[in-house]
Amino acid sequence: MAKGVALGYISLLVLIPLAALLTNAFNHGLGAFWSAATGTESLDALRLTVTCSLLAAIFNAVAGTATAFVLVRDNFWGKAMLNTIIDLPFALPTVVAGVTFYTLYGPLSPFHVNITGSWVGITVAIMFVTLPFSVRSVQPVLESLSLDAEAAASTLGASPFHVFRTITLPAILPALLTGTGLAFARALGEYGSVVFISNNLPYRSEVASSYVYSLVSSGQVSSAASVAFVLLSCALVVLIASNVIARRLARRRG
């Protein structure tokens, strides 16, 4: 009985709507799907989305690892505060981040920096949204990592960078990859934080989710479903691939 309710809940919420997406994306045939998904505006939007998401994910993989390092190995006044604020992107509504970034770095910027309508603004907004993913995936692994191996490597004369590259990095790599994959997948679909700063100029600064929204608003539901299908597939492929590679890396380490 309880199990039936759970299955009904997830079917109504997830399965049936996903099935509706599939049929709507393909109900005018493969040709219609293909032309909707690979139209110039769609391709430009997808390319921009993937580029900015990848840039932000890679940048945050580095910055997130550094942050995790400082959180685990360093000690200073305010560290607890730093640890708390890392989760801000999970707690602060994306639309608040969106309007704030637009006001901070838009035409009326108090710093006289205008990054609206360009890939820079989009990337910054995505960096905001995805920072906790990499930090929170690396942090627990670093905490459980014994310092012995690193100490042993140092006594053998390895430089700190060499120790990091040969000892620490391989240990945190699987978790880092999973976290980066999660961040990347999340970034691909990001809307609220990006939509204001991007200005949504078709072919120039329109991300995929914005494009889907504009198609929905103008009633082109099948085309919207086609682009949405591509977007969703990209995110799923990224998630599955990062998980598979991470697992393989972890297994190789034994």
Binding site: V14, A66, T94, F128
Partner: protein, 271 residues
């Protein structure tokens, strides 16, 4: 690399401050920029108050449903694994991979007037899209895995020996659930509930599509902020943003405490 250098610490602090700290502070600065009186007046904006009320209704409906489902599904997946529960385990995480805009789109495809169930629902007199139920469904969708993601690993870690011991002591399943299981996963639940709450309050893209975004009727607080901003009423938008920022600070505190408690619990656990 036993202890990071001072330079790295400063770089990290600078990065986090610029990326996360500055926007948060900026919201407060903007909301207070016109003085207390203006803030007081803006807080009584009729459309915003209606939006707050709607968001509150959505929270009251969506959060308990998802908490209930999240705990139940976690128990099923961990304590009574079967082929179907494995499928559930995979399905439950799918919302994390879907863009909020796509969530809105697929709910519309399934439940709008011209969608799969639209005609059936309208015959029954149910209006799902462009009304409260649609917003609730979208909120539930985007926050679906947040409780179970916290609870499932903890349930696995604790194992079922405490529950079984309670059974040998004569306790019935309901009693075991409330006196043993729920007590052991309380902090993970608190963590998940808080994340769910934050996500439901903060959802924008999915709600934008399914609600129709009609001021005073189907506009949640996040939609109201977006609308104010697009209508060149940025100040009013930032007053709304201030309220959400205050909520998010509260959320951060609860999340921080919950994580600390969970870590301590893990630390206290014994072989």
């Amino acid at each position: 690399m036993k202890r990071p250098s001072l330079a790295l610490r400063c770089l990290v602090l600078l990065y986090v401050a610029a990326l996360l700290g500055v926007p948060l502070v900026f919201v407060f600065q903007q909301a207070f920029s016109h003085g207390w009186a203006a803030l007081w007046a803006a807080l009584h904006d009729h459309a915003m108050d209606e939006a707050i009320l709607l968001t509150a209704k959505v929270v009251v409906l969506a959060v308990p449903l998802n908490v209930f489902f999240g705990i139940g599904a976690s128990l099923w997946i961990v304590r009574h694994p079967s082929r179907i529960s494995h499928v559930l385990d995979v399905l439950i995480d799918i919302p994390l991979a879907i863009s909020p805009i796509v969530v809105g789109l697929i709910l519309e495809l399934a439940y709008a007037q011209n969608g799969w169930f639209g005609s059936t629902f309208s015959k029954l007199g149910w209006k799902v899209m462009f009304s409260l139920p649609g917003i609730v469904v979208a909120s539930i969708f985007v926050s679906l895995p947040l409780v179970s993601r916290q609870v499932i690993p903890l349930l696995r870690e604790i194992g079922d020996h405490q529950e079984q011991t309670a059974a040998t002591l004569g306790a019935k399943p309901t009693r075991i659930f409330f006196t043993i299981t729920l007590r052991s996963i309380a902090w993970a639940c608190a963590y998940g509930v808080t994340l769910t709450l934050a996500r439901v309050i903060g959802e924008y893209g999915a709600v934008l599509i399914v609600s129709g975004n009609i001021a005073m009727l189907t506009q949640t607080l996040t939609l109201n902020i977006g609308a104010n901003f697009e209508n060149f009423n940025g100040y009013q938008g930032f007053v709304g943003a201030l309220l959400l920022a205050l909520v998010s600070v509260l959320v951060l505190v609860v999340i921080g405490v919950a994580r600390h408690r969970l870590e301590r619990k893990r630390h206290d656990s014994f072989a």
